[in-house]
Chain length 284, copies 2
């Protein structure tokens, strides 16, 4: 089970997930001058970030929207970034949040668990129900893949649907309970399932409850940094520093912009930002 | 407002949305022999279907999963199919069901409302809340684009979340009421909004209620044919034959497989299937 590999990597390297939401505006001019095509520019920026952080982070998350936005050229950069991470023996989450009827889900599973866009994990959206999750499970079982299902997200609008009250429980708890059932069929030796959930670090009032209620589910935790979450809050969702990964993107890859010599030394500042974030979560 | 254009096209051509969920297994051998690359094969099949039906259907829906599944090559076929439809003065829905936080949503909006993957409408998933819908609205207002937000889908699993009971109303009604508020800001002269919803034709018990409750929202209605919905059921969601479009994919593009001479005459059977479906809905 792939979750055992992630668990071990987190034990070794800490619980940071580095998000490659590579907006063109984040890319230093020195790279912009060097590469003509968008696909090369996006990929080379990512490559530099990955090279600087391979020993520090257990896993990367690539947000596909930032690549789709540049059409075929962008998708080439997406493909090349995933390949580079996997060829370097690291792991990658394709943040695609797909969710559709079963016949379509099968095609999405093929798309993101094999071929050009192959990832180790992907994110999926449960709104259409549990039969929309099923097509991916065959890959979890047989191809050593994993899922993070959206449960309670980090944005303000999370309250619109996820927080609706159904017989005393919030919608996200109903979703979580259903996913927990499925997750039980894909347990790793580490005590967590290869079917995990996305739980934002920005609403922390129920952090301890969530961790307890879903003790066997690995958490992908967005919302740290640029979205307002703090190390202390993120740490609430971990158990002995494991059982979850805290994602940060802008806060790491664009942090260099806060320094006068940032442009020249952006490689240094990327590394620095990861180290500071690790410290922040450890002291949480 | 783009919804006025769709409304007029439906008045002229009827309420069918032709779904290009082009699975390789649907493609006749005679085309498979002719084209070497997957991108050319997928596109040429679609081109033939489009050529045969341009005068019969107001709009096409292209399910991106079937193209993502073939990586970069598939995405080229997706791009070329969208372009071909738009260059032929028809309209196209990108069935992408995206949904994410605002900064990511902006990139998805750019991806699917401009550039290589430009569509007239896209489908979006509301699970993350109304702020995940917002980034697309700028394009609805300023670039003559439209949305179909998932409300109540056509699959069995729809019941898992969409049917949960919140204070006597189902989750999909809470979602619908929120979208209705937004939709009110993007009304066309035809009495419908450019922000519509996806309502499956497979659960018809509340068809008339839904049509009444959301009288100004245009419906994208999946589930007809291969998914079990009938013309009579689909017609419940229309108003004087307008106000919605009924999608069919497999039932049209793979119908030729039911006939002995299907392979040779698949162009004929595609057209025939559309004509029969129109009749079925009209008599509904």
């Amino acid at each position: 089970m792939i979750i055992d590999r992630l668990y071990e990597e987190v034990n070794k390297k800490g619980s940071i997930c580095l998000g490659l939401d590579t907006d063109i505006s984040y890319i230093p001019d020195k790279l912009k001058k060097k590469y003509d095509s968008v696909s090369e520019l996006l990929f080379q920026f990512n490559r530099t970030v990955i090279d600087e952080t391979l020993d520090l982070v257990p896993i990367y998350k690539v947000q596909i929207a930032f690549y789709e936005a540049y059409g075929i050229e962008g998708m080439k950069a997406y493909r090349d970034t995933l390949r580079y991470i996997r060829n370097n023996k690291s792991m990658v989450i394709g943040d695609v949040k797909r969710g559709d009827i079963s016949s379509t889900g099968k095609m999405y599973a093929k798309a993101h668990f094999s071929g050009d866009f192959e990832c180790d994990f992907i994110t999926v959206n449960p709104y259409m129900g549990m039969d929309s999750i099923e097509p991916y499970l065959e890959y979890v079982q047989e191809a050593n893949k994993g899922l993070f299902v959206l449960l309670r997200t980090s944005n303000k609008g999370a309250e619109d649907i996820q927080y609706l009250n159904v017989k005393g429980y919030k919608v996200y708890n109903w979703v979580g309970d259903k996913i927990k059932e499925i997750a039980g069929n894909y347990m790793g030796r580490c005590g967590y399932s290869s079917v995990g959930v996305v739980v934002g670090a920005t609403h922390t009032d129920e952090g301890a409850n969530l961790r307890k209620r879903y003790e066997n589910m690995f958490f992908l935790i967005p919302g740290y940094g640029a979205q307002g979450g703090k190390g202390r809050e993120a740490a609430l969702y971990l158990k002995n520093g494991n059982g979850g990964i805290v994602n940060s993107s802008r806060g790491i890859i664009a942090d260099y912009k806060n320094y006068e010599d940032g442009e020249e030394r952006f490689e240094y500042y990327v590394r620095q930002a990861v180290l500071l974030m690790k410290e922040d979560i450890r002291n949480g």
